[in-house]
Amino acid sequence: MTATLPARTAARTGVLVLAVAAVADDVPGIRTLTLRRSEGGPLPAYPAGSHLVMDCGDRRNAYSLTGDGSPAEEYRVSVLLCPDGDGGSAFVHRLAVGDVVTASRPRSAFAPVSTARHHLLVAGGIGITPMLSHARAAVRWKRSFELLYGHRPGAGAHLDELRDLCGDRLAAYGSTPEMLAAVRAALADRPLGTHVYVCGPAPLIAFVEETAAELGWPAERVHAERFSAADLDPGEPFTARLARSGTRVPVPSGTSLLSALEEAGVAVPNLCRQGVCGECRVPVRSGRPLHRDLYLSEAERAAGDAVMCCVSRSVDDELELDL
């Protein structure tokens, strides 16, 4: 009675080779890339809210696809330049038409819920990118939706196309207090069966989650997409003990378990490095993992026998891994 599940590495890491077909900088600091297969032809379809994991020089970043997800020959991503980031966005902002990049196939972790009566989309800043995808798909498939979009004055990415796409279903705000008031008002009176989706800075996500909870929204109707693991706090230092070799690997605050393992010469398969894709799962023998990923189910977290080492850490001073 064994369950043999296949190694999925080949299918999951199937690589797309994409050429930059167009570059647009409509809003200062935000670059939109149009990507096509180098050899031409259709690209894989994807559910609204999906992302690509793109190779950006020596690291990989996840970027939301902004289309409606129907099979097409182009993908579009919009990337905010983060001068203090770790280089992924600067890499994207150096790309020019004709450059070739490699990326994963689309990965879905933020799809619309088909049974929702109404979709309340909430975006802050560059968090608009998955919401643009949601809005496009909602228009195409005639779903009931509205979009609340908070942005810095003059820095609203995709505002013109959103106005054309959404009409009066779009409400855009250049001031944070107005945006938060609108979000609260919407959460207070939308019909039962509405699902809310939020992407943006951590404080906006926290505001939506806390306000929804306060107003009695069931948690399964509240969906959040965080920008990246960069939003996670640096965490407490701990030690990883590798059961098979007996090696002890210190994991300082601000360094991920995955990075610490790699620096210690331990190869761990990985892809997104943001707690989404599930590739870097490592078995745990003892110690309590501090789960911070978006991948493991509640039951798997409770079991405590595996950890997604790219973002998760340890509750205890020592975490024993089956490595």
């Binding site: 296949p6 999951r12 894989p44 195409r140 399964e220 599930g278």
Partner: protein, 323 residues
């Protein structure tokens, strides 16, 4: 007759790799050709054989007599369009000489000379395909289709067109959770097989395709052994035991099941393609005759009972081993 028969044997997906059978989550990537003692199968997702037109005529008759074999909860319409627009191009690739698919934006024209079908429709426009995209898909491929919606951390069997069920009922199962659908299957729950299968399916990324086989036995080449028509076929399992035509009437029934994460809708498309081969046909391949006799003889009683083999399995083993 001889060619049809040998072709049926040559393409048959004989499922047993050893002399005993237990349930497992035996999934593997799709599209990998399998070589058997008689030939091979599995290079594509769709398998169109000499029985194509006859089986689709049988499906039409079953649906005409019982329209409840096609079920679709209202939120599944996007998934039905997604299944159709994913699998029609697949069928066009499978039957290059006798079908054609012309796409101009969302306007699709499909011609299928094997069936005399010619239709033009607009993807997403329900009025352009009055019977619905799922029913139309079912008129073009031999597979039964179930569409699983993913939400609230589970999969739900919310749509399907199933005319060739092996003693189950789409009308009964529609709207159930994946775990509930598998409720009656012995052994798999204790072993965690169904839970693991559900976890595996929920993590399929857009466009990923896997497959597995399942099997049972059926009296005569009867594809419609759904629960609704039990009165028509149930007693044959008793009557066949003393019938001198037993080796021609008893069939090994193998389902090749494909599991495809549809890109646009995020639904899991579950395809069930049923192949049946009489004991006499099967025995033309000595390895298969010996192996199937061993599997049948060794199968635990509860599993034989669930599969409905109890009445005739002794007679089947006797015939297979007496040659």
């Amino acid at each position: 007759m001889t060619t049809a028969l040998s072709s049926r044997v040559a393409r048959f997906p004989f499922p047993f790799a050893t002399d005993s059978y237990r349930y497992s989550t035996n999934v593997e990537p799709a599209r990998r050709p399998v070589t058997t003692a008689a030939g091979g199968w599995g290079a594509g997702v769709l398998d169109v054989d000499d029985d194509y037109a006859a089986e689709l005529a049988e499906r039409r008759a079953v649906l005409a007599a019982d329209p409840t074999r096609c079920q679709e909860l209202p939120h599944m319409r996007v998934a039905s369009w997604d299944a159709l627009t994913t699998l029609l191009p697949e069928l066009a690739d499978t039957l290059p000489g006798t079908t054609s698919l012309d796409r101009v934006g969302d306007r699709w024209t499909w011609r299928n000379d094997r069936l005399g079908t010619a239709r033009t429709f607009t993807v997403g426009d329900d009025d352009s395909l009055p019977e619905g995209p799922l029913a139309f898909l079912g008129s073009q491929i031999q597979d039964d289709v179930v569409l699983l919606d993913q939400r609230e951390g589970a999969l739900w069997a919310d749509a399907g067109l199933v005319t060739f069920a092996a003693d189950w009922s789409m009308g009964f199962d529609v709207g159930m959770r994946f775990l509930e659908v598998h409720g009656p299957v012995p052994r798999v729950h204790e072993a965690g097989v169904v839970q693991r299968a559900e976890q595996f399916l929920m993590r399929l990324q857009p466009g990923e395709e896997y497959r597995r086989t399942n099997w049972t036995m059926t009296v005569d080449r009867r594809l419609d052994t759904s629960t609704e028509t039990y009165a028509d076929w149930g007693r044959d399992r008793r009557l066949v035991v003393d019938d001198p035509a037993l080796p021609d009437r008893l069939h090994l029934r193998v389902e090749v099941q494909h599991l495809i994460r549809l890109g646009v809708s995020n639904a899991v498309c579950f395809l069930v393609r049923t192949h049946v081969l009489s004991l006499r046909e099967l025995a033309t391949v000595p390895e298969w005759r010996q192996r199937f006799a061993a599997v049948l003889a060794e199968l635990p009683d509860d599993m034989a009972d669930y599969k409905g083999l109890t009445r005739f399995r002794g007679a089947a083993v006797d015939w297979l081993t007496s040659r």
